[in-house]
């Protein structure tokens, strides 16, 4: 009887502790969640032949963390992602396994648009190109980043050419130039994201692309309405609200990143979220 009471008492104590404990674990700071990652060079020496598995574990941790954060942000809870820590973890992962395509793919998906770390991502992708010599996607990403973010069309053409040679698909050769001249920057971005979303297996990543496409489409929609307004009235609208009052559009679309669209001084459509999840 006495031992039963003790066991029941212990179970009760456990239940009392486990709820706040799991809540603490769930909400602890990002640095603790992603954990400390030893420098890749040191880790390579320690983990020996298990380094490929270690690299994938790091990548999956980053992916899970980002996916979880993405879920939180969809409910409009403001949490600033620890991009630097994520990037560092992935950087170490590619030091452990320079062939791992998940790291390059995720860096391209998360750090270019969200963080604007295009040069760092390109440097990581170029590191991967030294190893994944058969993979056309890496030069394709570098080419896209060079054209879209850095406006370096010469480098873009060079990398798209390399992607074309590796894939046997001549489309890449003139992709950058064609989209820029015929469709414009936003359409180029949408086309790129649609290609990426189509080939993404992971649901979370697919969703990230879809949100970005949604944001760019809303931006393109508003920019088109601003152009029409300017043509009809011979002046720029004072605000996006004027597009609604002049019956050019029914309503201002929502920014999927939780921000609000506005017109900046130069007449360009922008969002307060800058198309990134942040506080």
């Amino acid at each position: 009887m006495k031992s039963k009471v003790i066991i029941l008492g212990l179970i009760f104590c456990y239940v009392l502790v486990v709820v706040p404990f799991s809540s603490y674990l769930k909400n602890r700071p990002v640095m603790l969640k992603l954990g400390y990652v030893p420098a890749g060079k040191v880790l390579r020496a320690i983990v020996g032949d298990q380094r490929y598995l270690t690299a994938e574990i790091y990548i999956v941790r980053v992916l899970f963390y980002f996916g979880e954060l993405f879920g939180i942000n969809r409910e409009r809870v403001a949490v600033t992602p620890e991009y630097f820590n994520m990037y560092r973890t992935l950087e170490n992962a590619v030091l452990l396994d320079p062939y791992n395509t998940d790291a390059y793919y995720f860096s391209q998906a998360a750090f270019t648009w969200e963080l604007g770390r295009v040069r760092e991502v390109n440097s990581m992708l170029k590191h991967g190109m030294k190893y994944r010599t058969w993979d056309y996607q890496l030069p394709f990403f570098v080419g896209f980043n060079s054209a879209f973010f850095l406006n370096d069309y010469q480098a873009a053409a060079e990398y798209m050419k390399r992607a074309a040679e590796l894939s046997g698909n001549p489309l890449f050769t003139n992709l950058a130039a064609r989209y820029f001249y015929e469709a414009g920057k936003t359409d180029f971005g949408i086309a790129f994201l649609e290609t990426m979303a189509k080939s993404a297996h992971d649901r979370k990543l697919k969703r990230i692309y879809e949100v970005r496409i949604e944001a760019l489409r809303a931006e393109r929609f508003l920019a088109g309405a601003v152009d029409r307004f300017e043509k009809e009235r011979g002046r720029m609208p004072e605000s996006l609200r004027e597009l609604v009052t002049s019956n050019l559009i029914e309503k201002i679309p929502l920014d999927p990143y939780g921000g609000r669209f506005y017109l900046d001084r130069s007449g360009k459509v922008r969002s307060t979220s800058k198309f990134a999840f942040r506080e």
Partner: protein, 267 residues
Amino acid sequence: MRLFLALTSVTLRGILRDRMLRAILGTVLLLILLVPVFSMFSMRQVQELAITITLSAISFFLLVMSLLLGSSSVWRDIERRYTSSILTLPVSRRAYILGKFSGIAIFIVCCGLFLFLVSVPVIMFAASSYPSDVPVHWLNIALAIGADILKYLLVAALALLFSTISTSFFLPFFATIAVYLAGSASQEVFEYVSGQFGTELQPASVAVIKGVYYILPNFSAFNLKVPAIYGLSHSPGGLALTTLYGVIYVVILLVLAIKIFSRRQLP
């Protein structure tokens, strides 16, 4: 020869009777069967992750087996006075050490082959769910497991050597782990000191590091996982050299173990 075969057979049967080893094998088998589920965590390289996890699980299992079996071989027999009774028979100490090692080696080789056969349908299943642009290179996977087997034969020989000078489990077990870790990292350290960093060090320190590099067994040479996972090509010359290196090193360790055991006073 007959007695050597009998010793090998006794060692092998002793290993197969060990319930703890069976439990470890069961756990690794379960892990390999769960590979298709784990590999779904990858975004773009499901097949590659399936091969990575399978090879890692096999490598880890063989490491544990070679460490445990090698470390608990000779000293335990001495402690139980089993060697004293065996050596009253017309069995040389050399045949005793070689019989012990052969039993362990046969077990490691059979486990490696068995796990390879189990992993084939598992990898095929994972690869069929999300086909990769890189085809599965079965020969490379077999070579990676073969290199792992040779590596862990080397670890077992090392543990057996330490076991011949020890009177407890701790020295062979921890000394083998220490040499294994150092031998896995030695290539990285060697390349590091051979580069720019080496010019900033004292020449004597560089010479010592390089000397240690040549003495320690180079375990990183047996790591053929990248060609197996990403379908890269092998250098036949490199493979032959690695095999030769492994075999010669094992033979050296066994000769040393026989020498030490021959001089050891038994209770």
